[in-house]
Amino acid sequence: MEKIKSVADLKKLKQQSALSRKSGDESSQQNAITIKVAMATCGIASGARETYDYFVQELKRQKINAIVSQTGCMSYCYAEPTVEITLPHEEPVVFGFVNTAKAQEIVDRYILHHEFVDGVIPASYKTV
């Protein structure tokens, strides 16, 4: 990992990451679908790891350009496992109770056809 030796280094790194997130240039990274799986203790206990693995394998199999990553607790403990999906140029959407069957439905309908499926969890909070 590269050393951050000054405030300037820090700012540069921040800009780089921010750029790579927002700009709509052509590289595959920017047009990728991002999938975040809530993988805190309760998520994992509810099967988030299986869900995560499913997304990784299924999207690879279907050759869909997507980045699957883990994240912390989204706080909807009652609806674990929870997954947040951001299609390019769209608002992120959170789905609850995402077992592998649900994950399959999400891939087939939301990711491929932009159709919502049952289990969308509306964002119930503002954040800093």
Binding site: M1, E2, K3, I4, K5, S6, V7, D9, L10, K11, L13, K14, S17, A18, R21, K36, A38, A40, T41, C42, I44, S69, Q70, T71, G72, C73, M74, S75, Y76, C77, Y78, A79, T82, E84, G96, H114, E115, F116, V117, D118, G119, V120, I121, P122, A123, S124, Y125, K126, T127, V128
Partner: protein, 595 residues
């Protein structure tokens, strides 16, 4: 072409108001009108605005309809979907402007939650420092090191009004200032991550979801008080949090954000992890320090406070995880911004672990001053299974049980203490009509009994006696004198115990005695448990008129206490019955009577 979506809230609160029927009606309308290809109906999770349910949101135009009845489905489809005209009467009226709100993005106010401490949880990959940096991570420490003197930073924290989120609510800035003023060549920053309160898990979530925020804040604290060493005392029962924290520490070291000469400013700071070993009392800062020193986690009398004489006898600043998680935001956004949130004496937000008999169990973060009603009914989606609310327990074993009359009390440190409870670390357990308050008090006392360190007499013996009395009462052997003794003994334990554990351990007893005295009296005088929970005071019998002989209870009984043949009336053998209540919950014909 983008499809039109009709989001129908499937949260339990809305379901109770026929949202399921509403959804069916929508589907029928769409089918009848041949719109199936263009319009899709989706059931969602709770919107967190249950008092105005059932809720419907239309995409892509973001229109938000409230209090939609099943009969409104036809009108919404014909007016909104087909004719592109909003159904004015179903739009929400902003109580302040008295205007109808058309789009949900203008309706942020229904979002009761505001996330500061949890800002990155569920947003970033905790194992990737770059994601943290992308969200302003480490910019606060950079700002402190390059633009502010330590005194200035302490001033900001003081002005922000931030108080310790671990329970006591001591002003954080003041603590930092005292530690700064304690002269010593070696000082320590300690992060208390020994979250022991049963039913609270916000610290775990923060460490699992956003470990860098705590690391950054500890470094800021180190800069302020003049410490180059930090220690995180974490529960060994949190393996995932430990793993993520270790990885985050490694990344911070690898990138040079921890270690020597941070950001080229000459400031040095390093962090080590210490493990708890299963002792709730180690949440108390002196006990925690002794535990880190390899000793029994027994608290010592304060003063001297750790700020003056702490770890290894050196000045030590102890804050908990949630407190630290607020710090970088306060530095970045400023004291005024932070202190504008919350109540007069409690600033900012508080994370609560909402659990128990509530629909939306989860971690929530709300501004100080939010009422229990807002939390339970709007965010929590109301009581599970449509049962009646009885109480909410806040503050874990140190807190108390608040009854209905406190539902509209704005929650902050002082109001909770006034109500006989405590903020604690933010556990919030909702109880319904089926929960026996005497048993709940006994449950908490049982916890304290297990966790008391045994050093001081009132806590060591007093809590045992309280527990024994509660046990006597729940067994139907209590007397009215026991109730008097419970109270007087509780007050002395509070008044004389050595540390916060003992000083607050009788709170569950006192608050239930105050708010649910009738339940105690029922146990004592009538030998009855109104909630039908106390095993010694209840019997399960079969109502012969209602029993259909379906054998469901017979098959589910774990101890074969039920006899009977198919289509014949069943019978419960009282000598075998362990009163687990399974038959009662399984019977479809309400044929089991608890008396």
């Amino acid at each position: 072409m983008t499809k039109t979506h009709i989001f129908v809230c499937g949260g339990i609160g809305c379901r109770a108001m026929e949202s399921e029927q509403l959804r069916k009606n929508f589907q029928r309308e769409i089918l009848v009108r041949g719109l199936s290809d263009e319009v899709q109906v989706v059931t969602t999770g709770c919107f967190g605005f249950c008092e105005k349910g059932p809720l419907v949101k239309i995409l892509p135009d973001q229109t938000f309809y409230v209090q939609v009845s099943p009969d409104d489905a036809a009108e919404i489809v014909s007016e909104h979907i087909i004719h592109q005209r909003k159904v004015e009467r179903l739009l929400y009226i902003d109580p302040e402007t008295r205007k109808r709100v058309t789009e949900s993005k203008d309706m942020d106010f229904y979002k009761r939650q505001f996330r500061i401490a949890l800002r990155n949880c569920g947003v970033i990959d905790p194992d990737n420092i770059e994601e943290y940096i992308a969200r302003d991570g480490y910019s606060a420490i950079a700002k402190c090191l390059t633009e502010y003197t330590p005194e200035k930073v302490i001033d900001i924290v003081k002005k922000s009004g931030l108080r310790g989120r671990g329970g006591g609510g001591f002003p954080t800035g003041l603590k930092w200032e005292i530690t700064r003023k304690s002269e010593n060549s070696q000082k320590y920053v300690v992060c208390n991550a020994d979250e022991g309160d049963p039913g609270a898990f916000m610290d775990r979530s923060i460490l699992e979801g956003d470990p860098h925020s705590v690391i950054e804040a500890m470094a800021i604290c180190g800069y302020c008080i003049g410490a180059d060493k930090g220690l995180i005392y974490i529960r060994a029962e949190y393996p995932l949090a430990i793993k993520r924290l270790k990885r985050a520490l490694q990344q911070a070291v690898d990138t040079g954000l921890l270690g020597r000469d941070i950001l080229g400013t000459g400031f040095n700071f390093e962090i080590e992890i210490r493990y708890g070993a299963g002792a709730f009392v180690c949440g108390e800062e002196t006990a925690l320090i002794h535990s880190m020193e390899g000793c029994r986690g027994e608290p010592t009398f304060k003063p001297p406070f750790p700020s003056v004489e702490g770890y290894m006898g050196k000045p030590t600043n102890v804050n908990n995880v949630e407190t630290f998680a607020n710090i970088p935001v306060i530095i970045n956004k400023g004291a005024e911004w932070f202190s504008a949130i919350g109540t007069e004496k409690s600033k900012g937000t508080k994370v609560f672990a909402l659990a128990g008999k509530i629909n939306n169990v989860g971690l929530i973060e709300v501004p100080m001053g939010t009422t229990l009603r807002e939390i339970i009914y709007d965010i929590g989606g109301g009581i599970k299974d449509g049962k009646k609310f009885k109480a909410v327990q806040t503050g874990g074993p140190s807190g108390g049980c608040l009854s209905e009359k406190y539902l509209d009390t704005p929650i902050d440190y002082d109001n909770l203490i006034e109500a006989g409870s405590m903020m604690g670390s933010g556990g919030m357990i909702v109880l319904d009509e089926n929960d026996c308050m005497v048993s709940i008090a006994k449950f908490y006392l049982g916890f304290t009994l297990d966790e008391s360190c045994g050093k001081c007499a009132p806590c060591r013996i007093g809590n045992k006696r309280l527990y024994e009395k509660l046990d006597k009462i729940t067994s139907g052997e209590g007397t009215m004198e026991d109730l008097v003794r419970l109270k007087s003994l509780s007050l002395v334990i509070k008044d004389t115990s050595l540390c916060g554990l003992g000083q607050s351990s009788p709170n569950p007893v006192l608050s239930t005695l105050t708010n649910f005295y009738d339940e105690y009296v029922a146990h004592v005088k009538e030998k009855k448990c109104p909630s039908k929970q106390c095993k010694d005071l209840i019997n399960f019998t079969i109502i012969e008129d209602k029993c259909t002989g379906c054998t469901l209870c017979f098959r589910n009984c774990p101890v074969e206490a039920i006899s009977g043949e198919k289509s014949k009336i069943h019978h419960i053998h009282q000598d075998k019955c362990i009163k687990c209540g399974l038959c009662y919950s399984k019977c479809k014909f309400e044929a089991i009577l608890i008396e």
